[in-house]
Amino acid sequence: MSASNKAARWIGEIVMVLLSLVFLYPLFLAIFNSFKTFQEVMSDVIALPKHWTFANYSYVWNFINYPRLFLNNTIITVLGLAGIILVSSIAAYKLARTKSRLSGVVYFICIMPMLIPFQSIMLTVLKTARFLHLSDSTWGLGLLYWGFGAPLAVFIYHGFVKGIPKELDESAMIDGASGFGLFFRIIFPLLKSVTATIVIIDVMWIWNDFLLPLLMVNGSPTTKTLTLAAYTFVGQYTSDWQYAMTAMVMAVLPSIVVFMFLQKYIVKGVVAGAVKG
């Protein structure tokens, strides 16, 4: 490579890195300002904090009861995810293996809801959830996600199971395995890579989801999610930007930390999910 070519390369690299830093600048600003006092935020937003203070953090931590919210988010996400994977994988397996009219109809019923925008049914989802006593509870919200996550999961699993040779089932049956035993011991382990894809897409979705939690669990401070609490908090403290930014940073920090460690897998999962979905 010639010298001028090399120089152009370097300039390209530097320009792109600078561009990416400008791109992320809003996030840096949010983080810096969460360490400032109210006066400092008001006098100059773009300056670095003169004295880094954690006072905002301890205030918001206690005010919104952060550990509780974190637990709520975890319960909702884990419960929702476990159900989506269990219910969808067994159904998709059976549907892909059964060749009949009924099977085709059931498959259609399962994936058709991908076309229904959530806003079209939000009011009546709330009514249904109230009727089933699923509203105003983190566990109830987690359960509801089973249905909302199922269509895409069934679709992805179904496509993958079709690629697993049927002889595998038959030889397992000769060995005496059948039903759920066959599925969980033989088939499910083979679904590992798609399951990972579904886990990644659904964790990102459920952890950050806003509208469904807003309708379902916004009634009490003990059932809120992180995003909801940040939303309510900003509503109450419209001008106290230092607290607002702290609440924002605390709400998004778990996602960013997880992303830094699992970057490669997350990007791969998102691409795989988009290509299959």
Binding site: E13, M16, K94, I256
Partner: protein, 295 residues
């Protein structure tokens, strides 16, 4: 007898495996959907015990005398078209740069992807802070006019802000789809084009772009389905303002249902949104199906 038993057993098993998912989907989608259809034919404020049946009156009013809905529909169409075009063009350009074997590629991809893992509501708030407070400081220190404009206070600018923040949040998603697409473009094809004397622009349009077609299909599909439902980011960024100019269809439904307590009327709008999404999706799927058959 044995075969009868086997048949019965396999039917049982089919039921056991598929019934759970059917129940979940019914609770989440089908029951609420049927209720939506029913409520859309009624006048109901949510307080009175029984919704009053009024036939298709809600729909008549929506299509003939609802300025809010017309405005929200226009907003959504404009937003969706610009979002789809801009995000795909920008993402392809960025992907081409990242594909040029940069050493910092991993960092760049991660940096552009980060906003996508954040909740849209929170992204909206962070940008509200930037537009309201950050731009003031930036304007003072740089003196640039661009920072002194009222990005959330003027209807035209507020529209641009909503569009810009949405693109900022999700460009990383489209970027990684295109990067993956570019990686599947065989290198020897590009080399062959170089040998044939094709310049970089020519190479892009006659080799890379056609081979990116499957990625473009996916990305356009995703961009369309997401933009037509835009809601969260507007809620936190502009709250529909200034003067109600940034309401999308989804937000308008939310306003009628939960702010104005027009349950029957709101669900009628919700049903229209569903039909619109359905028609668009079916058209899109048939177009793409036909293209794929030809290819």
């Amino acid at each position: 007898m044995a075969s009868f038993y086997r048949k019965w057993r396999s039917k049982m098993e089919f039921g056991l495996f598929t019934l759970p998912v059917l129940i979940c989907v019914a609770v989440a989608f089908y029951v609420p959907f049927v209720m939506t259809v029913r409520y859309s034919l009624t006048k109901w404020n949510g307080i009175s015990k029984h919704p009053k049946f009024i036939g298709l009156d809600n729909f008549k009013q929506i299509f003939t005398g609802d300025a809010n809905f017309t405005h929200a529909a226009w907003f959504t169409v404009k937003y969706a078209v610009l979002y789809i075009v801009l995000i795909n063009v920008l993402a392809i350009l960025l992907a081409l740069v990242l594909d040029a074997k940069l050493k910092t590629k991993t960092w760049l991809r991660a940096a552009f992807f980060i906003p996508y893992i954040l909740s849209l509501v929170i992204v909206g708030f962070i940008w509200k802070f930037i537009f309201m407070q950050g731009f003031e400081s930036l304007g003072d220190s740089t003196g640039w006019h661009i920072f002194k404009m009222s990005w959330l206070g003027e209807p035209g600018l507020a529209f641009i802000s909503v569009l810009f923040v949405s693109i900022w949040q999700s460009i990383g998603f489209y970027l990684v789809i295109y990067v993956a697409g570019l990686q599947s473009v065989p290198g020897d094809l590009k080399e062959a084009a170089v040998v044939d004397g094709a310049g970089p622009v020519r190479r892009f349009f006659s080799v890379t772009l056609p081979l990116l077609a499957p990625s473009i299909t996916i990305a356009v599909f995703m961009a369309l389905t997401n933009s037509i439902k835009v809601f969260d980011v507007i809620l936190s960024l502009t709250g529909g303002g200034p003067g109600g100019t940034t309401y999308s269809v989804a937000y308008d439904i939310y306003r009628d249902t939960f702010t104005n307590n027009l349950y029957g009327y709101g669900t009628a709008k919700a049903l229209i949104l569903f039909v619109a999404v359905l028609i668009i999706t079916v058209i899109q799927l048939t177009i793409f199906k036909r293209r794929e058959v030809e290819a």
